[in-house]
Symmetry: C2
Subunit: 531 residues, 2 copies
């Protein structure tokens, strides 16, 4: 493996211990990028985990301001190296350099890191709670071991193992991170790793606060997430790989936060179609569904309509727009092949092809913009098969005979990240809304009105999460600070602990004067009364 | 099964569908209580789950004040039937009627229900979050299906499947509950179930808001916690049964909150022994360890000491006190047999018996008050075997050669609910404290100073939880309101949802004027500015 790029373990960029290498491919050119990356063995994993465990012990004693400085320094370094990062990510992902990577995703990534820094500095994420009468105090704190992050293929910056939301949250909560690069963009991850590591040394974090490996075989991956010294895992990716990791982590009693798959049902009620189905709503749907060649976790994969002329017009117009719209490049050959397979499965399950349905049509790996349709009756017969995620520029219209059938369809929806309902602005659809919304509500993490789901704002109130199988737990969000930090914290209670031994966040005096704390059941930024 | 007591399914006390019955035993008399209880089949489970799912749908639309009224009404009904409940619980558990059951546990149980009612009424537990600029709002809300609660044997009221902490939390968060009675006190659970159901009808909850079965075989239990319509499970009990349920729930992607086992290490530093080891500290230890015949989840099962004369005197005094103290009755024959087995395993792993060690010595099922001792060296050799929980009136002294070895011992502690450190009041032990506290801190949910762990106050800052295998997730507490409700909530985000369609907690106007909400990153009880 002398030609393969080095892994980063305990502060050293060194040759991987392992067998085999892999070559990432440029999906537009459909050819290798020219770099070679190593597959790590259990020895690499063991070394990274041990170093990470030592780093966790060291980081437990650090002031949150050091962590915050790291995140800010890292954001600056990413911005300083933006051109090279964008070129690499474009080569590896086929995503447009501009505006997508350079003007949207990279700034968003730097902004997330800065928001995470602000969250670490403020400390309010930890929900510090003081019961002054009983002498009992508690807060969330770092887990005490390294967090493993598996990033997905579709956001080479914003969800990157070493720069994205899981990374930022895990670090901001005080944990070291072992990044497992997504195999589709190891070069981007390596460059980000270089900047992350340099930033960590700029501010004096332990050498193993940030570590990087590129790939392991399945068994070693399972050993990683279930390692006794690993604290938790964040995973975004395919359902099958995620569930194998989940089984290993669950068996070992290790928390694992998964973002697996989501088809994001959109319900369009008749009044909304009548009012604005022809242009406004149609444009929103087409833009949302084809954005990033449909390779978004929140891509609208099912559109539920009520039978009628309006629905037929809407479907016909969508079919036309999909046929005319340019076809984007897919992230990898695997994504293209999965599209072929999923669309074929959906057709086997009874869906009718309206447009598209075949490989090609765009530069490099690509698949035609595709629409399918199925009746509500058939959906109710084959709900599982008709909810197979086709990750890409595809959507399935489900046309229900009437509202009762639409409710039955909704009851069969799996857990999803999002669910949308479009309704008449004047209230014509309100009776229907009131029947379907409660059913959809408990199936999804985020319920939208009159808005497509693909924008995921980094808001304090965002939930990028949802019931299984969208994620592994319905109580956590992967986007939205500071709430996303809670995934990587343990609840630490201090009972009768002497005042000078308490962490600063739990002492009578508010350590910053700004931290929000729940003192005797009231949220306040004031000091607690002396105990 | 004509003589067996009825189960409660969908508002009907009816004969169980199933095969077989069981007879609870009076552990003091070592004889049957005279009642017969049914083992439920999958048909009962299926009926309860379906009814519970319908109830969940209904409860989603209820005002939190209705839930709160139910919990308060139930507390009143428990108090009104206190004599009968205490008599039944005493007969089934052998726990002293007074003060334990009548004067401590029953009032605590009613108080917990009232605190849960207050939490439901206030609504602040749901962490309502408003981002007024983006139009995104979120909060925790009921899970959308029934919660299954398996209560433990050791608190027939306070952790009862149909009246304890998990029940109160799950209901207060808006979920229906299916209680699986602990087989050691089905009669107590039945009486509580009668009052819970009556209270639920007093306030107009759905008929399946509270349901009760007594026992299933293992396979049916696993089908219950992994049922597609079940939302989550709360389990407190033995590690082996809990892990089997966890595997089934994990596989189905269903949250399960487990409280499995804990040996609650207590570190006594030399200065503390010198200062107050002879009387004050010794009394605290003996009282804590023998309280409830040691059958507490927070019972101090390991005492870590540094070699020296002080340690020897402490051990000798404890041995004497244990030998003299009256021996209590154990909850069941199974608990007694487990003590025999665990003490024998600890001895096989190298622990030396100091006192006790044999069955008997008290009324009914009992086991002598037991102390064991082992060297730090041996503990480091057999950390797993020497951490087998002996659930009862037993503790193991671990005597380390020096502080370095004590740290090595601590590093091998499994996850626990609690960890205590006793140190010199004047600071003589502070250097040692500073070395061992960070290690213990991340192994335990609650760290105590100079205080035994057996009191678990129902405080807003309490954490009755801890890293695996003490529980299944280090971020949640089973005791302490309102935080314990979060286990039974899903995060629901509303994006661009029209104002009149938002739940009251997320509208601009604060629904009670008292609810704490995170509005634009500030905690406040004020209204949000109109969007």
């Amino acid at each position: 493996m002398s030609d393969a790029k080095p892994v980063l373990i305990d502060g050293e960029w060194r040759a991987a211990d392992g067998e085999g290498t892999f070559e990432p491919r440029n999906p537009t050119a459909q050819s290798p990028t020219g770099e070679l990356y190593p597959v790590s063995s259990l020895n690499d994993v063991e070394a990274a985990v041990r170093a990470g465990a030592a780093a966790a012990e060291e980081m437990a004693g650090l002031a949150p301001t050091v962590i915050a400085s790291f995140l800010e320094r890292f954001a600056e370094r990413i911005e300083a190296r933006a051109d090279e990062l964008v070129a690499m990510a474009h080569a590896e992902s086929g995503l447009p350099a501009s505006p997508r990577l350079q003007d949207i995703e990279l700034p968003r990534t730097a902004d997330q890191l800065r928001q995470a820094a602000a969250a670490a500095r403020a400390g309010s994420w930890a929900l510090p709670t003081i019961d002054s009468q009983s002498g009992i105090r508690s807060m969330y704190a770092a887990l005490g071991g390294p967090v493993v992050v598996f990033g997905p293929n579709n956001f080479p910056f914003a969800f990157n193992s070493l720069a994205g939301g899981d990374f930022a949250s895990a670090i901001a909560a005080g944990n070291p991170v072992i990044g497992k690069a997504n195999s589709s963009h190891p070069g981007t991850t390596r460059l980000l790793g270089e900047e992350a590591f340099a930033a960590s040394q700029d501010v004096g974090l332990p050498t193993a606060a940030v570590q990087l490996i590129y790939r392991t075989d399945h068994q070693v991956g399972e050993q990683l997430v279930s390692h006794p010294l690993v604290a938790a895992t964040g995973y975004t990716g395919s359902r099958s790989a995620g569930l194998a990791l989940k089984a290993a982590a669950d068996q070992a009693g290790k928390p694992i936060y998964l973002e697996l798959s989501s088809i994001n049902p959109v319900v369009v009620l008749p009044g909304a179609i009548a009012e604005r189905g022809g242009d406004e709503l149609m444009d929103e749907f087409v833009t949302s569904c084809l954005m990033g060649t449909g390779q978004f976790c929140t891509n609208p994969g099912i559109v539920l309509l009520l039978k009628g002329e309006g629905a037929e017009q809407f479907i016909a117009a969508a079919r036309e727009k999909f046929g005319e719209a340019p076809v984007g490049t897919m992230l990898t050959e695997g994504v293209q092949k999965n599209m072929e397979r999923s669309v074929s499965h959906l057709r086997e399950a009874g869906a009718e092809l309206l447009v598209g349905g075949a490989t090609g049509g765009g530069a490099g790996y690509s698949f035609q913009n595709t629409l399918l349709r199925v009746s509500g009756t058939q959906f109710i017969k084959e709900p599982e098969k008709l909810q197979e995620e086709a990750f890409g520029n595809e959507s399935l219209f489900v046309v229900a005979d009437d509202m009762d059938q639409a409710l039955e369809v909704s009851r069969r929806f799996e857990g999803n990240l999002t669910g949308c309902i479009y309704s008449h602005s004047g209230g014509d659809d309100d009776a229907l809304y009131n029947r379907i919304a409660p059913i959809l509500r408990r199936k999804v993490g985020r319920l939208l009105n009159d808005k497509m789901p693909t924008g995921v704002a980094v808001s304090s109130a965002m939930n990028h999460g949802g019931p299984y199988p969208a994620t592994g737990h319905p109580g956590f969000t992967a986007v939205g600070l500071p709430a996303s930090l809670l995934r990587f914290g343990m609840l630490q209670c201090f009972d009768n602990v002497r005042p000078h031994r308490l962490p600063p966040a739990l002492r009578d005096q508010n350590p910053t004067g700004q931290m929000w704390r729940l003192v005797d059941k009231e949220w306040t930024q004031a000091d607690a009364a002396a105990g």
